[in-house]
Each structure stands twice: as C-alpha cells, then as structure tokens.
Subunit: 472 residues, 2 copies
C-alpha cells in the first residue's frame, strides 16, 4: 500500500507551442503567460498568451482577453507582438501587498481574525490560495495537452487579474495532482499546511483549488482533521478549464472570496455553481456535499439540505438551519488538528448477485473497517449475514450507509435491518458513504481505541450527520 505524492511534475517548458507558433513567439521574445499586444492586419488584441489547445491547429496563438474570453489569432496575420508589462510576468506570486502586512505581527492573539476588526471598513480579505491541481488550476485543460507548466496558484491568479479587485490573494503551490490520485497522504499534507497557516499566518480565509473528482472526499477529510477552524476554508474547483469562455473557475473563485469577505462563519466549505448560470454560487458544508454529475457546472449538491449559503453577486443568503456553533468568534480557541489518516478502510457497494463468499477475503486481509453501501434504508441480502457475523467477531468494524445517496439509513424499520443490527453492523444515519469512508480513515488514523472509535463514528463531529435537517 505504498503511495507517493508527486511534486516533480511541474514543468515550465512551452512545449505545447511548436514549429510555427513557437517560432513567432521566439521572434518577438515572448512566451506563455506574457501580457502582450498582438497587432494583426485588421486589429490589435490585448491579453495574456495561453497554451495552445491540443486540438488547435499549430497556426494559431491563443490569447486570453481582458473580457475573460480567449481567441485564437492566426499566425500569418500577426504583424507584431509587443510585450506590455514584463514585471507582471515574473515567476513570483503577484499578489498586491496588503497594507496590513506593515502592521506589527501578532500584536494580539486575535490578529489572525481580521474580519472582526474591520467592521465597516473597506479592507479586502487576505486570503491564502493553495493550489493542489485539477481543472481549475489549468489555463488550458492541462490533462489534454500536457500543460503542467502553468498550474500554480500564482499562475491561476495571473490568469484572472480581476481577482485582485476582490481580495489580497497569496497564492501557493502545494501539489499538482489530478484529484483521482489524491489519497490520505495528500489530505494530511494539505491539512498540515492549513493548520500551520491558521496557527502562524494571518489570513481571513483560505481557498484550496482542487480537482472536482474527489473534492468532496477532501472536504470531508479537512472537516475531520481540522475542527473548529477559526476562519473559513473553502475548496473551489472547476468543471471547465479556466481558459475556456465557459469556465466556471472565475465565478467559483470570486464566490469563495466574497463568502470569506462577508461571512461571520468559519468551517470547511465547498464553493461551486448552484445552477447552470454563473449568477449563483453555492457554498456547501464540507461533509455534506457530493459530485452528482460528471460534467455539469452545478455538479456538486448538498445532501439532504439546501447549501450552507448561496452567493449571488454581493448578496449572501444563509441557510439558517445550518449555523449552529459556527460563528467565528466562538470557536477559534478550540481549534484542533488531527491530520493522520489510516488506509485500513474498505468501501463495499452491495448489489443483487453479490456473492457473500467474497466477504471471506476480508478475514485474510488487513482491513479494520468495512463501510457497506447497502440498499434502501441500509440492507444487504440475508446470505451475507453469517459471514458478516464472522468478520465482526474477528474484530472488523462494519458500518452501513445507503447507495440511495439521499436520505437516512434506518435499520429498525425492517427485519433485514434489525438482523444486521443484531449482528453488530452499525448504521451511520445520513452520512454519505464517501464521507463515512473518510471519517473512518481519520478516526482510525488518530489512534482511537475500539470503544472510542465506534462512539466517534456514530456521533456528529462536523455536520456529517444531520438528521435534524429538513429535507429539500
């Protein structure tokens, strides 16, 4: 079970421009990321040179215009390319400096919570933007074109200079990983970095740019690892790469910044499109969100509740039912970080025809926990009962969630559920199976004793159990 975090794939060559297009870039001494004026026979264009789409002809240079749209400019029409502002193209983060950075650091213990100090002021929030990879961090969809060179948070920021209107952003590159490759080691590294920032640096909020495939797993992981965070920590992804006219990256990012600027609440959140328009961004609780569509911009949905907040321009509407105990001031002193995760947890989805004898494999393996994703209210077929009993007797914890996704596991309603309860299978209420896997990894990873472990799994830590919430 060896896993690696690959930090070496950050390559800065312009390899996706080749032959003709590279020649003209060389001729005018410009490169990817340069802010330029391109003079053609018919018009002048101002913008930033982007990587070429893999599917684009080599006869074009792709320019990101101020409007956010990209155009391809035919090379043979180009008369001149003039580099406009070399300073802005340095490889260093290009955040505006925050006037508050000149103040004495640590002047009091609450200095990190600047929000409370600037009521009524016009100060922009100071935000750490941690890049982990994924579509949002690609100017072009980097997985189609090998564009691994422009993936850092700083470059994301340079692709959206408008972000500086909303906040002081301190971009930072943590790793560059497709989110399907994110594993508990990445969660630990990310949680440790955030924990350090919370304890030692003074941000009003933290944004994590993340691939969408497993963003809901990571948001769960951070929710358990970092409890009572004193500031909002917001994961943001994108279903369209940031250079595409249809990209949702910018609006999701701006939604996250607006939320950090205006909210009195802290916690781990996910900000993504609420519907197919760019107008409303939903802010979901980190443990109660799921990617429910492969490609739509509003793929992420809160489970069994409306989102924590809806952000529409400068208006933020809160779901009042979800706000218990999440006021920043109340909890900043109780911040805890337990960032270890065990990998001895298996997620098993039941289906008709599932062979109960398969379960016997677990007697020979090293798993400590099985999360059963059962049918309906939390069922598996009765032929599984004897082997489940054996597993439980052998000390393996077996928990039940539902493959329905929405709704609550209730194992007291039917015989099947009651039989499973009698065997020692433990229902997990309306925790999603994805969140349940992460919670079990976390609870095991932090060396909890058996009794404590079961108690922790059954008890709401981070809104992962929300039976009291109204259904929508």
């Amino acid at each position: 079970m060896t896993r690696n975090i690959d930090l070496d794939s950050h390559d800065s060559s312009d390899k996706n421009y080749s032959r003709n297009s590279q020649k003209i870039l060389n001729k005018f001494n410009v490169s990817l990321g340069y802010e330029v004026k391109i003079v053609t026979k018919k018009a002048e264009f101002f913008g930033i040179i982007l990587p070429r789409y893999e599917t684009f002809s080599d006869k074009y240079i792709v320019l990101k215009l101020k409007s956010g749209y990209n155009i391809g400019i035919e090379i043979e029409n180009i008369i001149e390319i003039i580099s406009k502002n070399v300073d802005q193209l340095s490889k260093k983060p290009i955040a505006k400096s925050d006037p508050r950075d000149n103040a004495t650091a640590n002047d009091d213990n609450n200095s990190r919570n600047l929000f409370d100090k600037r009521n009524g002021s016009k100060l922009l929030p100071k935000i750490l933007l941690i890049s982990t990879g994924g579509t949002i961090a690609s100017k072009i969809d980097y997985r189609t074109g090998g564009v691994t060179s422009l993936l850092s948070a700083s470059e994301l920021y340079s692709a959206f200079p408008e972000l500086s209107d909303y906040g002081y952003i301190y971009p930072e590159f943590l790793f560059n990983e497709y989110s399907e490759n994110m594993n508990p080691n990445h969660w630990s590294a990310l949680a440790d970095r955030i924990s350090f920032a919370i304890r030692n640096e003074h941000y009003d909020g933290i944004i994590v740019s993340h691939g969408t495939d497993t963003m809901h797993y990571t948001s769960s992981a951070l929710s358990f690892a970092l409890q009572n965070v004193p500031i909002p920590v917001v994961l943001v992804g994108s279903q369209r790469s940031s250079d595409r006219p249809s990209s949702d990256a910018f609006s999701n990012l701006v939604g996250a910044i607006r939320f950090i600027k205006d909210t009195k609440h802290s916690g781990i959140f996910v900000c993504m499109h609420h519907n197919t328009s760019d107008e409303v961004i939903a802010c979901h609780l980190g443990t109660r969100v799921r990617k429910n569509h492969t490609s739509k911009r509003d793929a992420f949905k809160s489970l069994d509740a409306m989102p924590f907040a809806l952000i529409e321009n400068s208006d933020i509407t809160y779901n009042k039912l979800l706000h218990n105990g999440m006021e920043r001031a109340n909890i900043s002193k109780n911040f805890t970080s337990k960032t270890a995760f065990s990998d001895k947890v298996f997620l098993l989805k039941f289906y008709p025809g599932f062979s109960s004898s398969f379960l016997e494999n677990f007697l020979q393996m090293d798993y400590k926990v099985i999360i059963l994703e059962g049918t309906g209210l939390g069922h598996v077929s009765k032929d599984c009962f004897p082997i489940l009993e054996k597993l439980i007797e052998a000390g393996i914890f077996v928990f039940m969630t539902s493959q329905c996704i929405f709704g609550t596991v209730r194992m007291t309603v039917y015989d099947t559920g009651r039989d499973l309860l009698a065997l020692g299978v433990i229902p997990l209420s309306n925790m999603s199976s994805e969140t349940a896997v992460v919670k079990a990894m976390w609870a095991l990873g932090n060396n909890t004793g058996a009794e404590d472990f079961v108690r922790i799994m059954k008890t709401d830590c981070s809104s992962e159990i929300s039976n009291m919430l109204p259904l929508v």
Copy 2:
C-alpha cells in the same frame, strides 16, 4: 455462490393478533382479511381486518376502511363483528372476470395484443399482477410484524377493491422476498414467468409488485432478458406499506394500470411517484431509473432525462424523445427472451485511499467482469494502472462507470481516462453502474463469446445508453 429462492415463507397465521385482540376475533369467528362490519357503542365501521401494527397496543383491531384509510378500533368498545361476505375472502384470486375470456382463445396470432382491437371501446385492460414481495405487497409493513400471510397479489387486490374500477386484474403470487434478497435467480424466474405469459396468455399488460430497494436492478434485468416485449411490463413498488394512510401503493398501482390502458408503447417500465404529491406518477424506462432516496415517495428518478411518461389522473404526457421503436405493433413479432444471468460480475466502487493491491485478489477469484465505479468522467488513481493491466491480460473484462450517477463517462478528456483506455478499460457511456452490473451478468449468462460480449456491452440494447438524450 449458492443462492436460493425461498418460496416457503408464506405463513397464514394471525400471530400478530394476540391475547385480547385475538380473543375477540375468535369470538366472532373472523380473521385477518375478513370484510366485516364492526359495531361499537358509538358507530358502525365497514372494512377489512388488517394485521395489527407491531407498535400498536393489543387493545385495538385495525380496520381498513373503504376510503383507503385505516382505523384502530378499541376492543372494549366493540359490541359485535359481523362477517359481511365470506365469498370475497376465499384464498383464490378475486378478479372480476373479463367478458373477453369467453371469446375463442388464440383466434389469431395478435389476440394477445387486445389494446389495438378495442380502439374507442370502453373495455378495461386485462392485467397480470405478479407479486414478488416488498412493502407494496404488505397490508401492514410485514417486515416489522412478521406479517407474511397477506402478501400475495390477490390479497393486495383485495386490500384495494377500487382497483377493479381500472382494470381486470389477475393476481398471482410468484415469491415473497425482500428486494435486497432478490438475486439473478429471481430475475430469471420472473422473466420466465413473464415470457410465458406473453407467449401463452392474453394480457394487455403485466404489473410486477416489487420491493423498492433493488427494483431498478430488476427492471434492468427484465429489460435485457425480455427484449421487444409486445406489451407494457410495469414494476411498481411502494415506499409506505399499503395499509398506511400515507401509502403510495394505490396511486402507483393505478398509475401503472392507467399507463397500460392508454399507452401505445411497450417495454419494461417502473411506475412510482413523480413528486411528493399523489397527483403525478412517473413512468421510467427500466434501464434508466434509480432509487435516489432512502424513504421519500418520489425516490425513483430517471437518469439524464425526464421520465418516459408522466401520468396525472387520466392524462398521460409522453417524453417524445424516448419513444423510438417502442410502438407495440412494430415489435411484437421480434420478442426474444434470454433469461439466464451469470454471477461472475463484481461491482467495485473506487475511493481515495483505495489500495490498488486489493485488485490482486481478482487474479485468484472466478470473476469474469469488474464494473469499476470510478470518479468524475471515469477515473481511478494511477497506482491502479499496473494491476488493472494484469487483470485485463488475465482475461478479466474491466468496464468503467461513474459514481457521479448523473452524466456520461468520457475517458478521452483527461490523461487518466486515456491511460485507462490504453490499458483496455472499456467506458460504458451514461449507463448507471447498477444497470451495467446487470447487463454484464445477462450478457455473460447467455453464453456470449468474448468479442460479442464487449460489443453487446458497448451497444445500446434497451435504452441503457442514452447519450443522445437531452440533460434535464
């Protein structure tokens, strides 16, 4: 991998009435299912004696009123119980006889398709109602009270005498199984029974009452096993037991009957509530439906499309985009039944932290197919690649679906997908993972050669692949 179909659990004792309540039933020589008049000190009640709710006090007799509502009548208030009509309480099906039954059978080859013969007539449809168990077939929620005695389709029909206003119903008991216990053997038995009815009996439609937990798996199984059915075959379930005032059983059943009566289309369908009211019943395609909520009445949702039809009182609104080639007359001659299913198929849901070494187990086991439920557009972590390659080299077929539920697997967009394609992993478009498991079991079970098998899996058979459908 032994599985049994248990046909012996059909017990007709009145064990859920005990002590006081049983005494009074004995005294007046009546029993469960009797249609009675109960005279109390204050009023008279007409209805059918239902099993006692497990949680009810023993001081009550539960009576199902004509209105569909149930009341508990306190024993100490009961003066007399008069059995009203013993004939209606026989153990035999109590369907009204259809005048058409007097016609010469098999007078021509199309006689089974009575629908086409009675355009403009007021004849009610002749429907086979096959009971397989589940909440819908319980007058009380039988899994809480051991009420296994009143589960047949005939008793369901007697609980809803109003059904006779909508059709000539021929109830039949096939088995009595919680749907989480349904397995491919049940699918075969059910498909065989329906196939026989289509070839030898003359129904306008068939309704299968089924537990909801795995109803979408069974509807997929029937869709593959029985292709080009000449009549509608409709699975109907209930999220509330049929004796509860809030039961959705009656409205779902009536919706199915109305659909059979009025539609020109044939196929395998699922009829369940469209929303939380009783007004609109959705008719879903059998391969494109999923139980998405543990308890809500509108738990079943069509995937990536609106339902095939919406039934609102006597109005049926069709989704015109789903009707290709499903007109009854066109396909009745092409009806095929291939009702075998293999159990050599494993459904594996990927999650972050999934240990790739787990996959090595499959080298020692007897599975021929793995359905990977990947993330997003169809991804698993890169550390799985080498072992997936080994499995594929060893002759195991590996297919990809998405845990997102909605949307389409597209493995050409990102590196990860393209790498998996190169290894030989086969994407299954927008087939749900539940349907994919069933299809693989069916395609394997009917002795398809390797090449044919992959072709069949990738080709739309029964609307399980619907990329052309508009998203909703």
